[in-house]
């Protein structure tokens, strides 16, 4: 071989020179100008060559979009819609909830009679009826009605085509926070299930922005956490009101939680984009599908069967063994206290500093596999400590909490802890599968946990210092 061809290295140098030159000339506005110019040109060309005969019909979607995604009205409408969904859910769930509770209580009477009739030992009646059945009874009566209303209403909005508009509205905020616009879509998925939403972050191509979406997805409440938020809001936050006002206040509180979740998502995204995940957001095209009249009954049936029953089943399947274990722990005595009481007593000082109590913290820890079981475990924990409580109505439930020293602060902090705390086990497994990194999986556990502890601690300390509780 003769001497190496001299023009090859010069070619590489040529590229280097070229890149340096381009870098020197380029600025952050180039991309925006290019995209804006392409859109503008496309619009002008189409305007000249395309005629819409049925302009009225064609423009209907556009007109609606102009309002629903307007800079001024987009957000108020979004919040109003969300508020209405919560309001319908809470207003509609009260009566079926108490009816279900009555039904379970009525059945329990016969179950107890049956156990007596066959001379079953007391402990068996304790495990199965007082532990398992009563716990599940509460879960079903508290969780089923809101879910059976919330999911279909949400599905109707989704099928109408409103959710992509929400993503469109949120896009601006996420870009401002240094994230990807599609993060709002994965966030919307998170309202259903965070674990599924982690998989959905695959739609974000840039690894940096995808990681951001993964790390912050947990801050929107999922299926498993809605019932906790709704129940606590209605029992404690709206206690001073009656009738319609009560429902309204409850809905506002739940909505407030969602907004806090979104603010935290944006704040954490912003902080990440300035530290561990530096970079400039990439842009993307979001296709807004035409609005469609949803198939009403089809949607309702589907979402009831698919979502409500699925979530309930999951809650029951995981909560049932948890209920039994909780009851057993509560009835095995070590010294003069049960195992459960030992655990609770151990957690209590720390939990109290957060405005919670040992039972609540234990429920969150045991609830790691699935958020659905946090409330059931808490109820079973309280029930197992001797307070014999019939499932009859929701006031009884509130009394149970009050007997354990709850105040509005306990309820508020439990809601906040639920909103902000570590992702459930399934979500963590998915995060590891998607990132293949222990470091990021651990961070996705650590960031929410630190936030949850920090926020509840601060609120508890302030509330106590100010003498509010």
């Amino acid at each position: 071989m003769g001497p190496m061809n001299p023009s090859i290295p010069s070619k590489r140098d040529g590229l280097k020179t070229l890149l340096n030159q381009a870098q020197a000339l380029s600025d952050d506005f180039t991309r925006d100008e290019v995209i804006a110019q392409i859109h503008q040109t496309g619009k002008e060309i189409c305007h000249e060559s395309i005629r819409y005969n049925d302009a009225e019909k064609m423009m209907r979607s556009e007109k609606l979009d102009r309002i629903l995604t307007s800079k001024i009205w987009g957000f108020p409408i979004m919040l109003a819609m969300l508020g209405v969904v919560f309001w319908i859910t809470i207003a509609g769930a009260n009566i079926p909830s108490s009816m279900l509770a009555e039904l379970f209580s009525w059945i329990e009477g016969y179950l107890t009679l049956a156990f007596k009739a066959i001379h079953a030992p007391d402990w068996l009646h304790g495990v199965l009826v007082l532990g398992l059945y009563r716990g599940l009874g509460w879960v079903v009566s508290v969780m089923l009605p809101p879910m059976a209303i919330f999911f279909p209403v949400f599905a109707l909005l989704e099928n109408f085509g409103y959710l992509p508009r929400v993503a469109f509205n949120m896009d601006r905020l996420f870009k401002g926070a240094g994230g990807h616009g599609k993060q709002s879509l994965t966030m919307a998925m998170g309202f259903g299930c965070n674990a599924a939403a982690i998989m959905s972050t695959r739609i974000i191509e840039s690894p940096r922005e995808r990681m951001m979406a993964i790390l912050t997805n947990n801050f929107v409440p999922c299926n498993g956490r809605w019932p906790t938020l709704i129940l606590l809001a209605s029992l404690f936050m709206a206690a001073g009101y009656t009738g319609g006002a009560q429902t309204l206040v409850t809905a506002s509180v739940v909505m407030g939680m969602v907004i806090i979740g979104i603010i935290v998502t944006l704040a954490v995204s912003w902080a990440l984009s300035k530290t561990a995940l530096k970079g400039v957001p990439t842009h993307y095209t979001l296709e807004l599908p035409p609005y469609r009249r949803p198939k009403f009954w089809d949607t309702i049936l589907r979402s009831t069967l698919d979502k409500s029953l699925f979530v309930l089943k999951r809650a029951i399947i995981i909560a049932a063994p948890a209920g039994v274990i909780t009851w057993i722990l509560a009835n095995i005595m070590v010294g003069d206290m049960s195992v459960l009481e030992h655990v609770v007593a151990f957690l209590d000082p720390f939990a109290k500093a957060l405005g919670l109590d040992g039972f609540i913290l234990m429920a969150f820890i045991l609830g790691l596999p699935a958020n659905e079981i946090v409330l059931p475990i808490l109820l079973m924990g309280y029930l197992s400590t001797g307070a014999m409580l019939e499932i009859e109505n929701l006031t009884e439930l509130k009394q149970l909490f009050l007997d354990h020293g709850w105040t509005w602060l306990t309820a508020l902090n439990m809601m906040l802890f639920s909103l902000l705390h570590y992702p459930c086990g399934t979500t963590l497994v998915n995060i590891y599968k998607e990132t293949k990194s222990f470091k990021w999986t651990f961070l996705s556990f650590l960031i929410p946990t630190v936030l949850a502890i920090g926020v509840t601690f601060a609120i508890a300390q302030i509330a106590r210092a100010m003498g509010w509780v």
Binding site: R12, G14, L19, R31, E33, V34, Q37, E48, T285, E287
Partner: protein
């Protein structure tokens, strides 16, 4: 995923005698998702298709063939994308095919019921290639919705042929094939619409374009490359570097040196 079919290696050599009557032409189909692009691909090629992956990517590569008036045409169904700004593997694949492989004809498929949105991609392709045909598909749906598209005017505006089709009813297919043939044989002169940016940006583009030309010759769409470099398109920069590196190895091994440009991977 199956490995790349061996047939993926392009019959480059055919290009040299493309004017002969038994030439095979390479046609790329670009377009947004949901434009009926794949329907068009199926309608054109029927069962003569095979799929694999693009080299080094987890993006499906579909290729098929058809004959028209004694010529054989290989159709590459590019992934459906909204843009070619290298946001995703799909967009990179489509971009690389258009600028490096330089198909004999690039057909941009547009949804007749959403022309404004689809026009974004068409305008981007027009900045990257000269031999472009616009195929306005789903024209039957547009008619139903009362949308009238003046394709002659559009063609004049954009400087390339515009063909209306309804691929699922096989409407307009033979016309499309005829236009493709004429363009492949160089019988149609195009004057692709190039967007004019602000004076400030245009000045920068001209400055860079000169260096692009001196570095790559006219093997790459110089204006477009200049624009992308100004935009800091890292993915494009990486792929340019990769190709130069490949070329260097190849030349080192064989001791030959043709006019230099990023080579086909």
């Amino acid at each position: 995923m199956k490995p790349l079919p061996s047939t993926h290696t392009h019959p480059r050599s055919l290009k040299q005698h493309k004017k002969s009557d038994d030439a095979t032409f390479r046609i790329a189909l670009a377009g947004n998702p949901n434009t009926g692009k794949s329907t068009l691909f199926n309608a054109l090629t029927g069962l003569r298709q095979h799929t694999g992956n693009w080299p080094g990517k987890t993006v499906i590569h579909a290729e098929g063939t058809y004959s028209y008036n004694g010529n054989s045409y290989t159709v590459i169904d590019l992934p459906g994308t909204y843009s070619l700004f290298s946001n995703s593997a799909d967009e990179e694949v489509a971009r690389d095919c258009i600028i490096y492989e330089k198909p004999d004809v690039t057909v941009v498929v547009l949804d007749a019921t959403a022309m404004e949105r689809n026009m974004n991609l068409a305008l981007q392709v027009l900045e990257m290639a000269d031999r472009v045909v616009l195929c306005i598909n789903l024209i039957d749906e547009a008619k139903k919705k009362g949308i009238h598209i003046n394709e002659k005017r559009l063609s004049k505006q954009l400087g390339v042929p515009v063909v209306k089709t309804s691929a699922r009813n096989r409407e307009g297919l033979s016309h499309l094939q005829k236009v493709i043939k004429e363009m492949a044989y160089g019988k149609i002169n195009t004057n692709p619409y190039r967007i004019r940016y602000s004076d400030e940006l245009e000045e920068k583009i001209s400055a860079i374009e000169e260096t692009v030309l001196s570095t790559f010759g006219d093997r790459l769409p110089s204006r477009w490359v200049a624009l992308r470099l100004l935009d800091g398109d890292q993915s494009l920069i990486d792929s340019l570097q990769h190709r130069i590196e490949l070329r260097r190895k190849e030349v080192g091994a064989h001791g030959t040196d043709e006019p230099l440009y990023p080579v086909e991977a």
